[in-house]
Every structure is written in C-alpha cells, then in structure tokens.
Point group: D3
C-alpha cells in the first residue's frame, strides 16, 4: 500500500522523521509531501529548501519519496496514487482539527486517513517553536535532523 | 423570545443553516448577524455577498432576519432587542472559546448565550476548510447551500 | 415551550439551581427530573430525599416542576410533553459526553438538547466533590442551597 | 501485515464494525480480540455471547478472525503474531487515554498502535449508552448489527 | 515554604518520584500524603504498604516526609502546617478535574494549589495501568521505583 | 527563590495581576517580563506603554520587578537569575500549549515551569477579548486595573 504523509515541514523536525520511519516500516511506499498552507502565512523555508532538507533527512529510508505541492492534498493523493493518508498525533489539540480534516478529506475524495502517535520524546516538538527559538539564536539541534540545524543556523544570521 | 445568532458566515455552510433552522423552531424570531471579526483577517466574501448568500440560504424560514454589523455583538443584541444569543457547537475546541466569550458577553451586557449542538453530519464542516478547498477548485457543494456553491465557484475562477 | 432538565441531583447544588433559574426565565415551563443512573452506583440520597431537596430549593420559581424517574430520559420527555431537553455546561470534560448523549437522544427520539453555560462562580462545583467533602465533615454551605446543607450535615453524622 | 483490534465489545456496535471493515481493507489480516477489562466491572455479555455476536457481525469480511482473551493485550498480540495494534478514535476524550495506552504498550512490548477515525455517523455511538438504552427497552437497532439488536432485546426482557 | 503533595500512590511510580524531586528542590519541605479516595474503590496496596514504598522510594530526599490520611486533604494541609498544595500534571484530561479540585479546595480552606508538569518520559505512566499490567505478570520495572517493582511482583503471584 | 513570569501583557488584566499577587506571596522575588511574540502580530500597546501599565498595576507589590524583552524567554531567565518560570492557567486550551512550551524550555535551558491556576472570577478574561471590546468602545473596566482602563479608553478614541 502506498501512503501520503502531508505537512508544512517548515522545518522538518525529529517528530516528523519518526512518523515517516514508522510509516516506512508499516507500508510499502511513503510519499512525503510538503504543502503550502496559505492560512499559516509566509513559510520560513522556501519549497526548494524544504525539499532539500526532507531529502537529506529521510535519505536513510529507501521506500520514501519527497514531493512538493501547492494544491489540495486529496488531489495530490490521487495524482500520486496514494490509497491512504497518514498524520502524526502529538497532543489533544492536534487531534480535533486533524479529525475534522480527515473527515472532510474523506467526504470530498473518499480517501481515508490513519493516525500514528508520536513518541513521548518528540511529543512537545513543533515547527513553530523551532522557528521561534532558532530565530533568537537558541539551540534546537536536539530536536531537528542535522541538515535542518545547519540551515536554521544560516537563516538566523 | 427573540434571539441573535452571530457569526462570520464567510461563507455560510450547511452546519450554520441547521442551527438557524433549529433556532427558528425553538424561538419566536431569529436574527442572523454577520459580523466582521478583525482577528480573522480579510474575509473572502464582502458584507454584501454574505448578506445575499444568507438571505438566499435562509429564505425558507419565515421568522429569520439577516443583518450585517461591524461593532460589538452585545451592542447589536441590544439594538435588535434580542434577549438571548445562540451559538452552534461542533467540537471540543469550539466549546472552550465560545464559553469564554459567553461569559465575557454576559459580564459586559447581562445577555446570556445558549448553545445548540450541530448534527453529526455537519460536525466536521467549517468555513475555513470550505474556503481552502474551494480556492483550489475542490467540490464543496455537499457542505454548503446551493447559492453559496455558485458564489464559491465564481470566486475561485 | 416546555423543557426537561434531567440530572442525578445527588445532591442538587448552586450550579444546578442557576441553570434552572435561567431556564425558567427563557422557557415557559421547566420539568426538573432526577434520574437514577445505574452507572454512577448507589446514590447518597434516596429519590424521596432528592425530590424533597429539589422542591425546597426551587420553590421560588413558579414555572418549575420536579419529577423522579427510573427509565430512559427520552421516554420521560415524551411522557411529560417536553419538546426540548436542557443541560448545563461547566467544563470541557462535561461537554464531550453531553454532546454524545444529546446526539444519541436525538437519534432514538428526535428530541433536541440545548446547553446553558454555568456561571464562573459555580463552574467548579460538582456533586461528587460535595458528597466527598461533606462526608468528612467539610463545610459545603457556600455551594449548595440551605435545605441541602442541612441534609448533608445529618447524613455525615 | 497482521493487525490486532482489541476492545471490550460489550456489545459490538456499528462504529466497531466500520473500524474492522476499514482495517480489513488496509491490512492483510485483522484479529478482533474481545478482552476482559476488570476496571469496567462485570460485562453485560459473556465471552461466549461476545464471541458469537462478533462472528455473526463480521462474517462478511474474509480476512478477519475473532478471539477472546483475559490477559495483557500485548501478550495476545505476540501470541497471535500481530505486528501492529489498531484502535478507533471517536472523540477527544477517547484520544488521550488511548494515546497513553499506546505509549505504555509500546514501552512494555515494542508494539505500535495506529488510530483509525470513526465516521461521523457512528461518532456518538458507545457501548455504554447502548447497554443503558437497551436495558430500559429503548430501540438501538440503528446503532448495532442485527444479531446484536436481537441479543439485546432478549437480555432486556 | 512547606508544601503538601497529596495522591493515592497505589502504587507510587516514577512520575510521582519526579514531581517530589522537583518540589523538594523548589520548596523547603515536602509532605507526601497518601490519601484514601473512596471513589476509586478498594486500593491494591494497603496504607502500610504504600507508606513503606513511599518511604523506600523517597529516602534519597532529605526534606521529604511521608504521611497517611483518611480525611479531607485541606484538613491534612492545616494539620501539617502546609501553606500550599502541589499536583503533577501529565495530560489534558488530568488538568480539568485537578483545576476544579484546586478551586474547590481554595474555596473551603483558602489553600492554593500549584501544578508541576511531568517530564515527557513519565507523561504516559499512570498507577491504574501499572496495576493492570502487573496483575497479568507484565514487566513494569521501567516505570516504578525498585521497591515497588518487587512488591508488585509479590502481589501478582 | 526568584521566579520569572513571562507574557505579552497586551494589555495586562486582572487575571494577570492575581497570578503576580499569588507568586509574590509564594516566592521571594517575581520578575514580570513583557515579551514580544512575533507570532501574535503587532501589539496594541508599545513596550513603553506596557512597561508603564505593568508598573502602575503592580506597584502595590514590593517584591515584583517589571522588565521588557525581545529575545528568548529562557535567555531572559538566565540573565535575570530566575531559577523558575511561572505561568497562569485559565482553561484547558491554555494548558496544552503551555505544557509544550514548558517542556521545550526545559530541554533547551534546564529551567522548570510551574503553573498557577487563575481564580474562577478571572478565568474567562483574556487580553484578546479586552482589545476587541475596548476597540468598539465597550466597557472593560471590571476586567483590567484602573490605569489600563484609562489607556484603553484613550486608544479607542
């Protein structure tokens, strides 16, 4: 089964990597898709930067492919012939809006979403905190893959 | 009893229509008020468009009146002689901020708010998802009244 | 409109009284029904005691009637010709199970439920804490009507 | 991949059946396991009754097997050679305790849990409400498979 | 400042120990009080056993005292001359009932409660899961202090 | 012990003042720090205005110091030699993101955060509602210190 893992990945962090690793173990092929979510404002990293950091951070997994997309996630799922979408769950506040999106995506496309729990070690990691800390020169290297830590250091200069 | 149902209605969707229908059955008169919430940024639809789509979508209910307003919801309630405000509840994340607003509105005006539950069919429908899907050409006709589906199609061109 | 306000009322507390008072202001007639919920175990107060404390605590409201029932709440609503059920909402954890019950009651009977928010003063009051505190001789007189405070004092002897 | 779907199933309802159906579509084989949870008290239906109603309700799915168990769910998963556990998610209040159990099960056994969302139609259905309604002679036939509706009718006599 | 840390501690686990350790660092003296909560049913461990395991598990902290109590927690706080109560917070579902109890305790006694967050490593550990797993012979030694692991092993025989 | 209480304080309201008052009672010294949170957009009040209103509102507490900061809160804590951070908790939706931030701050700096519950009287007060109401000329004087009410009145002209 081929599954799609959509997200903003601005930037990708260790919690994301864990979800991809688990999905790559559970399913035949995992498409990791960085989407532009206009409701979240201007991203810190461009599509090119996010594609590069995702590829660098996930290269150790052979059945994972990284794509960029600006459209609807369900259209992307169809284009990529993904039969299922996966999302990571960290916390209660994630859960409710993810469940709403899963139901709306099912209604407009028929595609189901399953949820993979984050590990406790990464349950407090979120891209918005990483951006904020890195912007002030804080050290986030324990929370992101090495290539991302480097790119954040350059951005914050 | 005359009740006020405030919201952004950007756009009005089937979940809203159900709440108005229930309120029109429970109470003598329902004032549906589209308010400008500056915290939600620029709306997709202008006041004129929202007034038009609310009137078109609710014309089957004889004891419903549609108004537009830019001020405080409690001032509007007083102006319209509404003795009560109603809000729809879809989900847990709605509930807490709605409860805070109900308490703050009661404190500054004495006006109470009661909550009407959404049906399960519409519990995942939210204006922000409708705007996002329609913007990318997705089909939201199962989630909005017919006049709204048309206006969304024109907007997304 | 005649509405039904079901609960365990073991014992009735100030938060309940506020909800009945608001309902008696909003609707023509309010039926307050103490139900036996077998999932909550043996109640502290018998039906006779609860009927007595409800009548004593609500006698200042002329359009309120107190009934006891052991069956399904929706059967009681039909028997009492109540067109609507009301529930108080204190907190997020209340909300989700109340919403589930509202939806299940609607499905099996067609009867709707609307939710009235508790005031902040009574938002932390719950019968289970009152029973526990009173049992150890703690003073709960600020949280319950006077007749209930007396009955609790006698019980804890 | 072989997955385990544990639960009390006291009784099995339409929401459970939907989750099994989705799991049977996503994975190679699904083991549905009714477990005795001593924290939930004496079940309404015996193991024999639950095994019978699960088999009757799921016989239309060829890659599903029903088992009964009294021990730890992770020991059962190992015995049945299941590589993954699945749980349905209905609501926020489900989610947090399910996430805790998923993490504790992973820690003591290494076995992961993934979550499948309920459909909106079944999101308010829960075994405890079904038991309560059926016990008072209420009609739950819209919420449970036909064999379960029959067994509930006989129980409530 | 002398603080009181009340709980069931049936049994004490690593999450509890972390909270006591943090409290012992922040405040002058910490009273750890195992209380009997009649709403939680018969405990697995007697007061003597819980006193013993708390003393054994916390002996490395010099400003910590262990007491047993059957009455109201606020009466105990007064008796022990504690000016403040502390509670650990693991998860959202903990939070709401803890906040209600904090407010009710403040109302009946004037004593405040402050909340210390659990670490992510212990955020999923809860006494009820530990009892359940140990009862079936599961290995919980990674989640409890060594003396507790031993006592659980003996209990489950 | 010296503690840091960070926030936006745009504007400071009665709920904040209560938290500072409690902290000033519990701890030796309280540093109240208004931070610029770029994720919350342009503040209504400048740093100078917020410093002035904090000083005016908290002058009755002798062990409280007000500072302004634009960097990371953990860097400020170190600079101010604060050994602990405190946050107020009003509601469930506050709690989860505050817990995430507490964990991330501990990971990057080792500094712990403890949570103080708001009183029920101030549990619904939030700066964003105060800004919105004041902007439309609504009366918020029951929710903010007197100097803030004055500044809001001037702003809204």
């Amino acid at each position: 089964m081929r599954v799609l893992y959509p997200g903003s990945f601005d930037p990708v962090h260790n919690g994301h990597v864990e979800i991809v690793e688990l999905a790559a173990h559970l399913f035949d092929e995992v498409i990791v898709a960085a989407l532009h979510n206009p409701q979240k404002g201007t991203p810190l990293f461009s599509f090119e930067e996010r594609e590069s950091m995702l590829n660098d951070s996930l290269s150790f997994l052979s059945n994972v492919k990284v794509v960029m997309s600006t459209g609807l996630v369900v259209d992307l799922a169809k284009k990529e012939k993904a039969e299922l979408m996966i999302k990571g769950l960290r916390a209660v506040s994630d859960f409710e809006s993810e469940l709403q999106m899963a139901r709306i995506n099912k209604q407009i496309s028929g595609i189901e979403t399953v949820f993979l729990p984050s590990t406790t070690e990464s349950s407090f990691v979120a891209s918005k905190y990483i951006r904020e800390i890195a912007q002030f020169g804080g050290d986030v290297s324990a929370m992101v893959p090495e290539p991302v830590a480097k790119m954040l250091k350059e951005k914050s200069k």
